[in-house]
């Protein structure tokens, strides 16, 4: 339990002002809202020591804290009941150490992905990860949300690229784990534990990443298939061939046709030889000019998302509901899942499904009502569950969030996850209730 009495708003401001000397403190504004909840106060600590004191105070005072980076994915997870204090890592925006010869970089949590990639490209290197909205998304935010794009096929997700991490715990402890070298098995792998933990265990202040060389060249081939089955077969054939793509996906929608995209990186000799193999595997289907950059397809799912959906006005949002769902399935299940979606949504729904050959997929659905959409999510989960698959609501209006849990069933390890949370954040001040199982 909090060790001091719950402060009044003014008391909290006074106490925090005394702590945050170099950073800034201000009241929350409408623009700071997280799923309709406006933080009481917003704070930007200037360095780890300030953040440590802020968190220690917040824990003692029982303030509910919401960490934030670039603010691009704050609506992932359950809606917060309340936010007393939004803590931004915006000031942790420096690249702290870049060793091109060792191909490692240490970045402050607030460094944006674009800022990082731009610095790395000077040495023809990159963080081999393509998360959403790189101009605004931060290193810390991408770690906390475990966001990954098409490059994952070849380079893994953030858990495979992160080498070390520094977090501040709710009691103010500043803890570093992992290391600055590519290979290291000393102690528990907390960088992985923090990856995808949605800020529920500690606030990330810096991370060390392993880097890869920028490819010499890159080529994308797109193929239009009449149906998802052939597209899925094509993807599996490439995965089972000698081709080593850095992107392999199919896109489908209500019309039932499927576009398959293959990206091959490397030196010219390698690209042309692999291209030949890909063309052979495509058989009679000829490559077509892609409509724009197919590797932007994931980000485009968020385009034109109806704004009024944040409204909790039931009448308004009942008529037309849009949502974005992240699916996880087995690679051989892409077409059967697409078929299930088509059958379940019926002829009248508008939807787009982007499916990676790794078994991750993103579904955007428009124009369905809240109740039938909730039913659809539940049935989709039952469809995927037997093979270990999941369906997580990334974007959904309140009317849908009220009807269905955004995460789904976390399985037999949920009690263990709760114990981890209790150890790291015994008072539950960090993003309370937003993670799986209400953690």
């Amino acid at each position: 339990m909090p060790s001091i009495a719950k402060p009044t708003s003014q008391q909290a401001i006074d106490a925090l002002r005394a702590i945050v000397v170099e950073g800034t403190l201000r009241p929350g504004k409408a623009a700071d809202e997280v799923l309709g909840v406006v933080p009481e106060l917003c704070i930007e600590p200037a360095h780890e020591a300030e953040l440590s004191r802020v968190l220690d105070y917040a824990r003692q005072a029982g303030l509910l804290v919401a960490p934030r980076g670039g603010g691009t994915k704050l609506d992932w997870g359950n809606a917060p009941r309340a936010i007393d204090l939004a803590i931004s890592t915006a000031r942790f925006n420096r690249i702290l150490e870049y060793a091109p010869g060792d191909m490692t970089v240490t970045a402050g949590a607030g460094v944006t992905i674009a800022q990082l990639q731009s610095a790395l490209s000077a040495h023809r290197q990159r963080l081999a990860l393509d998360p959403l909205w790189p101009e605004r998304a931060t290193a810390g935010g991408v770690v906390a949300t475990n966001d990954s794009g098409a490059l994952r096929l070849r380079y893994g997700s953030i858990r495979d690229l992160i080498l070390g991490i520094t977090v501040v715990l709710p009691d103010g402890t500043i803890a570093t784990s992992g290391g600055k070298v590519v290979k290291n098995v000393a102690g528990y792998d907390l960088p992985k534990l923090m990856s995808g933990a949605l800020g529920t265990l500690g606030i990330i202040t810096r991370a060390v990443f392993r880097l890869h060389p920028l490819p010499h060249g890159s080529q994308t081939l797109s193929f239009a298939f009449h149906d998802c089955e052939s597209a899925n077969r094509f993807l599996l054939a490439i995965a089972d061939s000698m081709v080593v793509p850095t992107g392999l996906q199919m896109r489908t929608g209500a019309d039932g046709t499927a576009q398959a995209d293959v990206r091959i990186d490397g030196i010219d000799a390698g690209i042309s030889a692999q291209t030949e193999t890909v063309l052979k595997l495509a058989g009679s289907v000829n490559p077509s000019a892609p409509d724009g950059d197919p590797w932007q397809a994931r980000e485009q799912l968020w385009n034109d998302y109806p704004r009024n959906h944040q409204s909790s006005n039931a009448a308004e949002s009942a008529s037309r509901v849009a949502c974005i769902v992240k699916l996880s399935m087995l690679p051989a299940q892409l077409s059967s899942t697409a078929a299930y979606v088509r059958q379940a949504l019926g002829a009248n729904a508008a939807w787009t499904l982007l499916m990676y050959s790794t078994g991750l997929a993103w579904l955007r659905v428009d124009a369905a009502d809240g109740a039938s959409m909730a039913e659809f999510i539940v049935s989709l989960r039952s469809f995927l569950a037997p093979t270990g698959g999941t369906a997580v609501l990334l974007k959904a209006p309140p009317v849908l969030r009220q009807k269905v849990d955004v995460w789904g069933d976390a399985g037999s390890a949920l009690p263990l996850m709760r114990r981890l949370k209790e150890q790291f954040d015994p008072h539950g001040i960090l993003n309370r209730g937003r993670f799986v199982g209400g953690i």
């Binding site: 893994g156 784990s177 290391g179 114990r419 150890q423």
Partner: protein, 502 residues
Amino acid sequence: MPVRGAAPEQRPGRQRALGGEVNPAFLQALGAIAGEGLITSPGELRTYECDGLAAYRVVPGAVVLPSTADEVQAIVRLCAREHVAFVARGSGTGLSGGALPVEGGIVISLTRMNRILDLDIPNARVVVEPGVVNATVSQRVAPYGYFYAPDPSSQSVCTIGGNIAENSGGAHCLKYGFTTTHVLALDVVLPDGSLVQLGANTLDPLGYDLPGVFVGSEGTLGVATQVTLRIVKRPEVIQTLLAAFDSTHAAGAAVSDIIASGILPAAIEMMDRLAIQAAEAAVHAGYPECGGLLLVELDGPAAEVEALMAQVRERCLFQQASEVRVAQSEAERMVIWKGRKAAFAAMGRISPNYIVQDGVIPRTALPAVMDEIARMSERVGLRVANVFHAGDGNLHPLVLYDRRIQGQEQEAEELAGEILKLCVRVGGSITGEHGVGADKKMFMSEMFAEPDLQTMQLVRCAFDPDHLSNPGKVFPRTPLCAERPGPYVPHPLEISGEAQLF
């Protein structure tokens, strides 16, 4: 904070049966679970007194060899009820004393659980029991054109369960990653006896990355009873190049050149003169005599490997390699690797005793570190042979000594320890793949500050608050775990449903 400060002793009622023999009633209960899979005779127990690091020895109270996950669960439940410590063990090839028994505790040997349960080639997944030998997985999927990427040098003997405990790497992890990269899901018996699934068959399972935490936890968080592994399509072409240099400096410069040119080799291994001599004496790999030998392996699409290998050759010649040759056949390639993989054991040819060290440095620090190791070696008067995964900076210095000479073992241990401290000083790690185990726990404080270690212990307290699973390993001190908090108490204003909490 639940964990703060070292525990002077266990809380009353949670005392382990330390220092004594396991009591007869407990043994009887174990026997009821495992039947003839229970070892209690002193002679047989001795087989389990150490792992690959023979310097530490403890005879366990009993060894139990379960055949099923249910049996493992029953054994761990019994241990939890009776507060008896247990140490899970695979083939016992570990080099850090991770499978060293605990006095008064039992060893759970998983070698009987060695079935491959499922092959799913279209989805590139394999489900195995923990006692399956590493190399068996690759052999089993080879007909389909796949392999299991982590390849520790002991792969013909070591088990997947042991690999999971240690997060084993191998020569090819520069490109393919470590055990943790390839484990999707695990069934784990937690130290309280509950059986849970960590991770999933699919990517991005819900919740915390528990496989990420469990893999590499050195047996301190529970016992894996079933593992879903990812397998990898075998590359079209594998080419291996040998390059001879005058010194490890020159070889190191070539490595930097290769990496800087944007090539990501499947493996880059380096051996110094002493290591080459030993390997030659042991397996006649046909290595050229030189001061620094480089072994570079490229794999991938044929056209690409062909072109990149020409570049690698060029870089080596630019750095004054006296000889560069590419293996012309698979047999020749295997011989090259045989020499490298036999390098540790080969030390027996040139020294009566030796210590295998495992440290990591930022690759660019290699020349300076090699010089410093040479100076340290000279100062103490003990030879140090060097074998390392040069691509990722993982050093394996081998400190050679003669136990028969009074005090030399002690000196060798001190030198091996000083090398570790050197690794940490240049920004590296005390272990790249052998683990901390019993051997290096006192070096954890060289690498991590007290708050860092206490934060790691929070994980231990969540998984194993009674410290029954491989206690006394990895960390220099045993944490005092807080009592689990009582039922969740909602914030008063949460009840009232107000958004404003002030």
